[in-house]
């Protein structure tokens, strides 16, 4: 069993010198444990009929450092707080982007906001994708639905620090072509030499112009050639899809040390106190949201 307190330390610098990770404790925003820092929304754009992209500018004077896959606790005054993944890579500084689905009351109120509206932020929180483990590996970056929001931070990181990794494949599945997040990014990734990016949708309405693949996300895996001994897969999406994707990956020879999954549970505090995000002895908010599948063995999640 890996100790829960064994904090990942990014003391080792990557080859990429665009940035380096600091000691996270010192580079958070928000005061005390529960008071958020106040920020204005810089701009808002539509991603899908249900998802909008929110951009916040972070002034140079603010020491904010995150790792790909971390999240913030976002406050909408009078509505409370919700965990939201940081969608841009730490290599792209000076701003934060959030892709947010209209899922309920808080996100509904957020979707009503305009540039200039004030929100609250605390964070970054959580253990993101363990970049040290991913370096020098072939990567399979797999996202379902909203899972592309956090995964994009890693994809951008890979783009900016390309030399640190070997082949990078992106597999992304959504319900319909409308629901694909980050359509222009996807188009660019499909074009680029940097990635092998494949997309699949569950179904397509008649007369829709979409000409890509139709089916379920796990179907993208069997045709791939995978060198199991130096490949690591990263999985972000609704947990319902995980057993099927994991099974397909295992068939390719990947063991549980080579599969990372993100487990997202409703969170109230983000700092390991409120109990809402517990998986046995883990708290998703401080031990996750990204876990190595190996570490989840024997937990209620693994069944």
């Amino acid at each position: 069993m890996v100790s829960c307190f064994e904090k990942k330390q990014y003391s080792e610098r990557g080859n990429c010198d665009c940035f380096h990770f600091g000691v996270f404790m010192d580079s958070r925003i928000g005061h005390a444990a529960y008071e958020p820092a106040i920020y204005s929304i810089h701009s808002i754009s539509d991603l899908t009929p249900h998802e909008k992209l929110f951009r916040i500018e972070i002034p140079d004077a603010v020491d904010f450092r995150h790792e790909p896959g971390q999240f913030v606790q976002l406050s909408v005054w009078g509505w409370g707080e919700a965990p939201i993944s940081i969608s841009n890579s730490p290599t792209r500084k000076g701003y934060l982007e959030f892709a947010i689905r209209h899922a309920g009351s808080l996100t509904g109120a957020l979707h009503q906001m305009r540039p200039g509206s004030k929100i609250g932020l605390r964070g970054p929180f959580g253990n993101g994708f363990d970049v040290n483990r991913l370096r020098s590996q072939n990567l399979l970056l797999i996202a379902g639905g909203c899972g592309l929001a956090p995964l994009r931070s890693l994809i951008q990181y890979c783009e900016d620090c390309r030399d640190e990794f070997m082949d990078i494949r992106i597999l992304y599945g959504a319900k319909t072509p409308h629901d694909l997040l980050y359509k222009s990014d996807l188009a660019a990734w499909m074009e680029s030499e940097t990635f092998d990016c494949r997309i699949i949708v569950d179904f397509v309405a008649p007369n829709h112009g979409y000409s890509g693949k139709i089916g379920l996300l796990p179907e993208l895996i069997p045709p791939l050639e995978v060198e199991a001994e130096n490949t690591t897969a990263v999985l972000v999406g609704p947990p319902m899809m995980y057993p099927f994707v994991v099974e397909a990956l295992r068939k390719k020879g990947l063991d549980d040390e080579r599969i990372m999954v993100s487990l997202e549970r409703h969170m109230k505090c983000g700092i390991g106190k409120c109990g809402h995000c517990a998986i046995d002895h883990f708290s998703c908010c401080i031990d996750g949201p990204v876990f190595l599948l190996r570490d989840l063995q024997g937990t209620e999640w693994a069944g």
Partner: protein, 327 residues
């Protein structure tokens, strides 16, 4: 070490009433044992355990996390309440307090809890102080000061600076060295319930308790949440905003893992959908998960959940049943 009578101790408490908010067990007019402020009536130090979550003094049922004006300014006006002086906790209560102290301090410091806790003084009571004079285990150090009752007097053991500070203010009493016999009696107390709990913990850890068992226990649960409400080591809470005129206030309030809406995956799936899952969680969390995470079980056998559960499936009862059936 000094000895002091119960009357003398109360004299002392009255003498420091200006400086501290003094809280301890009190008997209400209708005879109920509760937690209350020191009044003209002496504290009920021999009346048994307070039947609810006494750690609520530091982690109240509901409390404000912050207030913010419509100009986005935080209200920094802290309360100038007097420091709390808490009297009357038993050894198992103090163990529970020690755990939640560690819980709220470790990793991210929960300043709302820690700030309140930091300025407080805790006085435990042990020795022959049970309802019928039975012996209550001596905590030997988990509080600022412990009053160990030898049947006639309290022997005062000071464990911290705060404890010594208070003790120096106590002008009454005689010196004694008679603690050793009481300590030996305390250490020799048999703890069969602890053994049952440990065995249950091991059986759970080895996955020897089957799903049918949980279904059966859960069948008897009416989801009243009394068990989690009284437990001194339960720390779960929910967070919500109140909209007031020209400001919002954010609060936290106790929550219970026994309620069906407690947990959700971001996708909407409920990982604790059945009461069977939730009952299993209630027991396993304290006997297995916290052992992994915190190095110890976090049920200290205070017995409160067994006292309040209307259907008889508190921690001790369930642990005993696990051992009986699977041990």
């Amino acid at each position: 070490m000094k000895t002091i009578t119960c009357d003398q101790f109360h004299h002392f408490l009255y003498s420091i009433r200006e400086d501290f908010e003094i809280v301890g067990p009190v008997i209400l007019h209708d005879g109920t044992l509760s937690l209350g402020r020191l009044t003209a009536e002496p504290l009920a130090l021999f009346a048994g355990r307070i039947p609810f979550r006494f750690t609520s003094l530091f982690f109240p049922h509901s409390e404000r996390l912050f207030a913010m004006s419509d100009e986005y300014r935080f209200d920094k006006s802290g309360s100038s309440a007097k420091p709390l002086l808490v009297v009357g906790w038993r050894a198992e209560d103090l163990e529970a307090l020690e755990f939640i102290d560690e819980f709220f301090r470790t990793g991210f410091r929960d300043d709302v809890f820690c700030d309140r806790r930091q300025s407080s003084v805790v006085i435990g009571v042990s020795g022959r102080c049970g309802v019928n004079g039975e012996f209550c285990r001596i905590s030997e150090g988990k509080c600022d000061m412990e009053l160990i009752y030898d049947g006639k007097h309290f022997i005062m053991a000071e464990y911290t600076e705060n404890g010594r500070f208070l003790s120096e203010k106590i002008v009454w009493g005689e010196e004694t060295d008679s603690l050793e016999a009481l300590l030996q009696e305390s250490r020799a107390l048999r703890t069969p319930e602890r053994e049952i709990l440990q065995t249950a913990s091991q059986l759970l850890m080895r996955n020897q308790v089957d799903d049918d068992f949980w279904a059966e226990i859960a069948d008897r649960c009416i989801q009243c949440t009394s068990c989690t409400n009284v437990c001194p080591t339960c720390t779960c809470f929910d967070v919500y905003d109140m909209r007031l005129k020209r400001k919002i206030e954010r609060y936290r309030m106790w929550d219970s893992c026994q309620m069906s809406g407690f947990m959700r995956e971001a996708s909407g799936h409920n990982p604790l959908a059945s009461q069977s899952d939730r009952t299993r969680r209630r027991i396993r969390h304290k006997l297995v998960d916290d052992l992994h995470r915190w190095g110890r079980m976090t049920c200290f056998l205070c017995g409160r959940c067994d006292d309040v559960c209307p259907t008889g499936i508190g921690m001790k009862a369930v642990a005993a049943e696990i051992v009986e059936r699977f041990g």
